[in-house]
Amino acid sequence: MNRPWDDDERPPADDVPESDGEPGLQPDEPDEQGRPVGRRIVLGMLGLSALGIVFGKQLDDAQSNLLAPVVAHDPTGLSDLLPAVDRFRFYNVTDSEPLRTAATYKLTVGGLVDRPVTLTLADLQAMPQTSLIKDFQCVTGWRVPQVHWSGVALPDLLDYVGVQKGATALRFTSFDGTYTESLTLAQAQRRDVLVALQMLGAPVTRDHGGPVRLYVAPMYGYKSCKWLGGIELASKVTPGFWENEGYDVDA
């Protein structure tokens, strides 16, 4: 065992390696002696990791504030490669990005409703719009503060189709054909849950899940289903895509 407070250049006696017992050799290999600097580096880095986990949020905030003007005026987009820059990170669980244009987009609302409907983008645009400015928080830790969102508040849409008795949950499907999400009826009736048509002050882009995506302000980003294609009212919650991979259904 090494004593870290032992400042002697010579290793303590119990640091001397054992002889490998071969004949004709001195017991000590000169390059096996010395202070265990490697171990100190490794332990130091582990300590740094723990400190980083606890205080990294502050560093992250400080760095993103510092870099905000640089990122805003960076024509190359290379600054997006830096950690802690306030930017959306692109997530897609299928082979390629699905494509629906403003002309081909359709949202089907069905299940336990009085009036199943299929809405075009124009239909959604004609409904009362709700705007809010809220953070987008990813479950893994990244966050984009103060994002402008606008679209049809989900409770308005639910009023429009009429929720039947017995419906307690919503199931969202993406037109990527794979992604699904879920909310309880109570969660879906919050006014900060949007069928979003606009984001960042412009129509939702294809990369961000456009032309229409879900935005669930009080919950983690994976709840905000991109490329929203269908909403189904059901009698119980069906865990969504990431929730089948171990994420919380209620988060």
């Binding site: 010395g34 171990r39 580096i41 490794v42 582990l46 950690p83 990005e97 830790g141």
Partner: protein, 219 residues
């Protein structure tokens, strides 16, 4: 008695640990790029699958070295990498570190730093990665901190891995040592004098004790 022409630098087990670790690091870096860089994410998609590969390889990264601990040669080299002698500090500070005036053991101080950094780096990535992957168990500020460390360390590890590859590529003998296990004695005497002298002495002693004729040149 002539010295052997070649010396055994790395056993088969050690080379296996090195290769497995290298492959795992490369897969981690490659999948990291896909997960992190939007243009690549858009190209590849399949985030759940890419993430799964990344996490499996990341958790697997320390495994080859842990298995390697079963080998005496690996343990001995790990000890050599761990220990810094007075000459190591001199070597690091010296401008003439490459000319052989400061005798070097089996590993020079740069190689020791590289090994320590990579082990520490792997453990940092593992600890922060687990906080990110098993998200449900921690408050979100810890995950933001873990992501911050994980992202910056990924760049640091990439830089050190590229530096390691660059240094190795400049030295065919070093490359061959890791590929085949053997290095030329003349190279070893130049780059790792203390180690080479001991290995030569060891070989001669072994020859003497078995009554060897000194004609065995190859390793």
């Amino acid at each position: 008695m002539r010295p052997p022409a070649e010396l055994l630098r790395f056993t088969r087990g050690e080379r296996w640990v090195h290769r497995a670790t290298a492959i795992l690091i490369c897969v981690c870096l490659l999948t990291a790029a896909i997960l992190y860089i939007d243009a690549l994410s858009q190209l590849v998609g399949n985030r759940a699958l890419v993430e799964w590969i990344h996490v499996i390889c990341g958790i697997g990264l320390p495994v080859p070295a842990l298995i390697g601990l079963g080998s005496k040669a690996f343990r001995k080299d790990a000890r050599r990498l761990n220990r810094f002698t007075r000459n190591d500090w001199k070597w690091l500070r010296s401008r003439q570190r490459r000319d052989g005036t400061i005798p070097v053991g089996k590993f020079n101080a740069g190689q020791k730093l590289n090994a320590s950094f990579q082990l520490g780096g792997i453990l940092m990535m593992l600890s922060t990665g687990l906080v990110m992957r098993f998200a449900n168990h921690w408050p979100v500020y810890l995950r933001t901190g873990a992501t911050f460390v994980h992202d910056w360390m990924a760049y640091a590890i990439l830089a050190v891995v590229l530096g390691h590859l660059w240094m190795a590529n400049r030295d065919p003998d070093a490359l061959r040592g890791m590929r085949t296990g053997y290095v030329r004695t003349s190279w070893a005497r130049r780059e790792h004098e203390v180690w080479a002298n001991r290995e030569v002495a060891r070989a001669k002693a072994a020859q003497a004790s078995t009554g060897g004729t000194g004609a065995t040149d190859a390793g």
